[in-house]
Structures are given as C-alpha cells and as structure tokens.
C-alpha cells in the first residue's frame, strides 16, 4: 500500500450530508472489476440525470474542480453499504484525502486499506475550508498526517483520525504481511480456543 505522509493539492467541495456509499458508487457498478475504471462512475447518479445529461451544478462536473485530490464533504460521508468499491471509485478518480465531520465506520476502515486518508474536522471547519476554495478554487490545501493538520492559506486546523489508521497510512503497512508476523500467536490461540469453546465449531449437519 502507498504511504501517506503529506499532501498539497486543490480541494473540491461537496457539501451534502449523508453521501452514503450508494451515492458514491451505485450498486449496478459493483460487478465491475476495478480495472474497468471505477473513477469514471464516481457519484454517477448525482452527476448525471436519467438521460445521461450532466448536472452543471454538481461540483465534480465543473472544470474548476478538475485535478482536485482532496474532497471536502459534510457529515456522515460513506455511511451505508460496506462496498469497498466506493473507496476504489473515490481513489481512482484521483482523490487521496476526504475531509469531513464524520464518516461511516466501514468506509473509513476500507479507506485506510487503500491509502485514502479520511480526516475529521468540525462542521464549521469544513464549511470554512469549503468557502475558501469556493472563493479561490486554485488555492491548495496542505494535509499533514504526521502533525494531523490541514492548512489553507494562513489558516490551520487540527484533524482527528484513529491512531491505528494513522499508523497504517504513515507506514504503508500491509495488513496481511503484518498478521503473518503473529503466526505463532494465532496458532496458539486457535488451539487453546478449540479446547475452551468446543461448541464454537460448526457441527456437522444431520443428513
């Protein structure tokens, strides 16, 4: 996994609350392999109407936000379905960081596995960041994961992130490799647990 330490990039404001994973990536694209390009269908049903006509008001359709690598969002971003493909869509569309007041737990967990930073600031702070980039879309933000800060011009905010996620992103850890280093503990646990909780194994069904 790619490490995340510091990012300076422009930010796209998408200040609608409750943008759940069904909005981020509609379910009909879940059968796509990732290689088919999930970034192109990010927020598909919010970006386009039933006839495929783009909604000119939707930020991702506006040229001024093209190239943004930071997404500014309102509360409860990524709630709902556990589909990790929602993270693939955000990442493959070029975003490396989402800043919002709160995230769906499963989305946040999926994000960290894919090198996408989910940074938590208050409602007022994300609103201020959104106003700043609305006024000047070219203005870059700097997100520093070491220091847990996001800077915009001469303003700087602290953001929250779970320390486990922070560690994983900073180190670019691969969970499976990490788990391998605990192989002995896992085997010991398994043996002891089988003795302690014999009932936990599935019984063979009666034929």
């Amino acid at each position: 996994m790619e490490k995340f330490t510091r990012l300076t990039a422009t930010a796209c404001p998408l200040m609608r609350p409750n943008l759940n994973t069904d909005q981020i990536l509609p379910a009909r694209y879940l059968k796509w392999p990732r290689a088919r390009g999930m970034g192109q269908v990010l927020f598909q049903d919010l970006r386009f109407d039933a006839q495929g006509k783009p909604d000119a008001d939707f930020p991702l359709n506006q040229p001024r936000w093209h190239g943004a690598e930071i997404l500014l969002a309102a509360r409860n971003f990524g709630g709902g379905s556990s589909r990790e493909a929602a993270v693939y869509a955000v990442y493959d569309a070029g975003f490396r960081c989402v800043i919002a007041p709160s995230f769906g737990d499963i989305f946040a967990q999926n994000a960290v596995k894919n090198g996408l930073l989910t940074a938590i600031v208050s409602d007022a702070e994300v609103a201020e960041l959104a106003s700043a980039v609305e006024a000047d879309p070219e203005r870059p933000l700097t997100v520093d994961l070491e220091r847990q800060t996001v800077a915009c011009g001469n303003r700087e905010f602290a953001f929250a992130i779970d320390p486990v996620s922070r560690n994983q992103l900073l180190n670019g850890w691969d969970d499976v490799d990490l788990t391998e280093s605990y192989r002995a503990q896992i085997s010991a646990f398994r043996a002891a647990d089988r003795a302690r909780r014999a009932w936990a194994a599935p019984a063979l069904p009666r034929r």
């Binding site: 379905s81 769906g104 499963i106 320390p163 909780r197 014999a198 936990a200 599935p202």
Partner: protein, 470 residues
C-alpha cells in the same frame, strides 16, 4: 474482584489474539459468510497466491445477484450469470461450502446463517455486507467488512480491529398491537440519527427487547448499521436457545446442553459501564414510515411531511428540500395521503416467516391496489410459507410470489423500482436510487407495507387489524 464488564467487552476479550500498542487488536473470526459480491476479495487472494486458511469456518450463499423468477431456466443476463458462476468457482476451488442458486438452503445470507444454526451466541461473525449486524440478535459479535478485510479473513481467519465504544439502548415497556420490531428500529434511528451510533457497538436491552422473538431481534440488530453502529447485540436467553435447538449446524445432544451453559453467561454484568446510554419507552412507539432519503427521516404514520422552512439550521433545511424534491413530496402533506405505485416485501431486514405472516394477516381477504413483489428471506422460508398457505394470500391479493434473494432491496439482480415510482418497502435503506435509479422508497414494517398495498397509499395498519387474528 474483577471490574464489571459489558457483553461487548466479554465477546471482544474472548476473540482477542494480540493487541498492539496503538490499540489495534487481532481478533479470531468464528464464522465468515461470503456471497457473489466477495469476488474482489477472492481476486486479492489469487493475486497473492494464497489459499483459504479455514475453509470449514467459511460459508457462501448466492443472494445478491440471484434471479427471483425463472431460476430453473438459468440466468438470462450474462454479467449477472457470471457473478453467480464466479462464486461457484471460487468456493469450489477453496473447499468452501456453498448454498448456491438451486440449493434448498439458499437464501439471503443473514437469513440463512441463523436458519442453518451457523450463527451462534458468543461467536465473532463477519461478512462483506453491512447488514451482518443482524447476527448480533443471537449474542454474537457480528459486523460488516470491506473486500480487503474479507480477503484478510480468508487468508488468516483473523481481523485487525479497534474496539468501538459501548452504547446501550434500553427499550422498556410493552409495544402496542400493530407495532413491530421494525418500528422499534426506526424509532431508535429517528432518535439518535443515521450516524448516531458511529464508532459504537450497541447492546439492545430492556423488557421490550426481551419480549421480541428471535426474528424481531434480527430485524432490530439488522438496522443497527442504519444508525451507524458497528454492530448490534442482544444477550442470548431462552428464546435464543429454543430457536437454535435442532438447527442443522448447531451443536447436538449433550454438546448443545454444554453450549447453552456457556452461552448463558453471555450477559452484561450488573453495573457494567457503557460509554453512552439511550432509553426509549416502547409504549410510546407508533407504526413508523420514512419520508426522506436517510433512515432517520422517520415519523409516526399519523404525522405530516415536515417543512424545511421550519428548520432553524440552514444546512438541515437545504438537505430536507433536496430530499423532498427527490421524493416528490410537499411539506405539510399528511403521510397517509401519500399515494404509492408498488410494494416490496423482502430483504434481510423483514422477509422471515413471521414477517410474511404479519403481512398476510393484513392482506387475507383483501386486494392490493398496486403491484408488488414478495421475495422470501430464504428458500426454506418460502417453502414454509407455502405450507402455511401464505403464498395463496399474497397471490390472491394480486402480489407476485417470487424466489428468495436480495432482490428489490438493492436492485442488482434486475428487480428494480422504475424511475420516479414510489415503493412502500420492508427493506432497510431509503437512499436515493437504492431500489433502482430514481426510485422513491418508504421504509416500514411488513404489516405496514400490506396496509399501504390494500389502501393504495401509506396507511396506519392498526384499524386494518381490527377483528383479525395476528
């Protein structure tokens, strides 16, 4: 003297293999359910050249993409057919038991796991599906995970997690006739918000929860994720043990008695501390419907569509205007004046036998004014309903009696609500486009969906139950 512990603490401690300094714990996984959507994880497995660590603890079900009609003829859509075939190939290759398309045990994963006795008290259960919280009804620690985590569980039978905060939701008292587990769930979500339980594991407690059947508890725990909760748990009791006894994969004979002994201590200690507590009065809960595009947009059926202009917070008013615009609703309209185009009875939330009975009790001798689809939670539920004659009630009412799957809850098998149409639905998400692009969803209990069907508009089920056996 040990510190009093919550059930959440006890379940966590039982499964913790190691804990890192940063607080991440490596947990042992007792049951892993997979479905067609797990193909990303199997791809990761393949690309790493790895195999499944514990194939005997992994069970697969075809549910998300399966057709609900004409199954015997195979699947017409080649992309959908490929999803089901892919699951068959991946499970066969890895020695995983599959309840496939034509297996009599097939159904929605969160209905099948409990039905087969695979889900047991005290287990840690995961699945690449957010509604895995359902299994918490048995006193299991059960939560949804993403594809990378599914791959990790396949490869190691473990998962890195950080312990969530503990929230107890106590529902005390007695619910009124016509008020179902779904109404309790929607009342909870309306109270704490669609993100109200984020970062928390929920324990549901109180006399109203104890009084719920296992199926009612499953409905409630299923909807925990709609309040943002990591999982929802009900301590196991006699209802739990009665439900499990004799299930195919549950312990048998003396083993069962020993298991019950172990399960009986799975309760929160008196005085155990929770990080947060919420309490609700069951007697104050009326049948509830949703009006907007998140599950916390929920009101008692005798209320009216709320007015954004009455909101003090600008962002909330803006959200409501957009939601009402999408839903095609005007502020002040009585909820019972909202005409519907169709109904759906199905999903992992509300398609078990008791749900079908509750809907049929309203429908018997009546005709639906709109078309509708009834998709049982599992093939076994479907057979049981047919033995009880419920299929005839649904058919006589003019509804389509279909095979089991996720169906119109998520719309990816082709069962969709057409754009702009309004559906009264027993499902879990009224998100924009959830039941199909442009679909308008109102969530409610199975009996309330039946009431809407026979009325042609959202309706209070209570008067329709007068003089009926329920």
């Amino acid at each position: 003297m040990t510190e009093p512990r919550t059930l959440i603490d006890k379940l966590w401690a039982t499964h913790e293999i190691v804990r890192r300094e940063d607080g991440a714990a490596l947990l042992w996984v007792d049951r892993h359910y997979v479905h067609e959507g797990s193909f990303h994880a199997f791809s990761q497995l393949k690309s790493r050249g790895r195999s499944v660590a514990e194939p005997d603890l992994t069970f697969a079900v075809a549910d998300h993409y399966v057709p609900t009609h004409g199954r015997a003829a195979g699947i017409a859509d080649p992309e959908i057919a490929a999803m089901v075939r892919n699951l068959e190939a991946n499970t066969a290759e890895n020695g995983i038991t599959l309840f496939g398309l034509n297996d009599p045990r097939q159904g929605i994963v969160h209905v099948v796991g409990p039905e087969q006795g695979l889900t047991l008290p005290g287990l840690l259960v995961v699945c690449g599906d957010s509604h895995t919280s359902t299994h918490g009804a048995f006193g299991a620690y059960a939560f949804g995970i993403g594809a990378s985590e599914v791959a990790h569980v396949l490869m190691t039978q473990t998962l890195w997690q950080k312990k969530p905060r503990r929230l107890r939701i106590a529902v005390e008292g007695k619910t009124a006739p016509g008020v179902a587990a779904k109404d309790i769930a929607l009342a909870v979500i309306a109270r704490i918000g669609a993100d109200g339980a984020q970062g928390h594991a929920i324990e549901f407690a109180g006399s109203a929860i104890r009084a719920l059947s296992m199926e009612g508890r499953m409905t409630l725990c299923n909807m925990s994720i709609e309040a943002g909760g990591r999982c929802g748990i009900v301590a196991p009791d006699a209802s739990t043990f009665d439900y499990l006894k004799g299930r195919p994969y549950a312990p048998k004979g003396a083993d069962f008695d020993k298991a019950v002994e172990a399960w009986s201590v799975l309760t929160s200690d008196t005085d155990a501390a929770f990080d947060r507590e919420v309490s609700l009065d069951a007697g104050a809960i009326a049948p509830i419907v949703t009006w907007g595009t998140t599950p916390d947009d929920a009101l008692p059926i005798d209320a009216s569509v709320p007015d954004p202009a009455a909101m003090t917070e600008a962002a909330r008013a803006q959200y409501m205007r957009e939601a009402l615009d999408y839903m095609g609703l005007k502020p002040g309209t009585k909820l019972t004046d909202i005409a519907i185009d169709r109904v759906f009875i199905g999903s992992c939330t509300n398609a078990r036998i008791e749900d079908l009975r509750a809907a049929a009790a309203v429908l018997v001798g009546r005709v639906s004014k709109v078309p509708g689809l009834v998709s049982s939670g599992s093939s076994q539920v479907k057979r049981q309903a047919e033995q009880e004659g419920l299929d005839r009630v649904f058919r006589a009412a003019g509804l389509d009696w279909a095979d089991s799957g996720c169906s119109m809850c998520v719309g990816i098998n082709g069962d969709r609500v057409p754009p702009g149409e309004r559906c009264a639905s027993t499902t879990n998400r009224n998100f924009r486009g959830r039941q199909g692009p442009g679909a308008r969803t109102h969530l409610m209990s199975p009996a309330m969906v039946a009431a809407a069907a026979v009325s042609g508009h959202l309706a209070d089920v209570r008067p329709l139950l007068a003089g009926r056996k329920v």
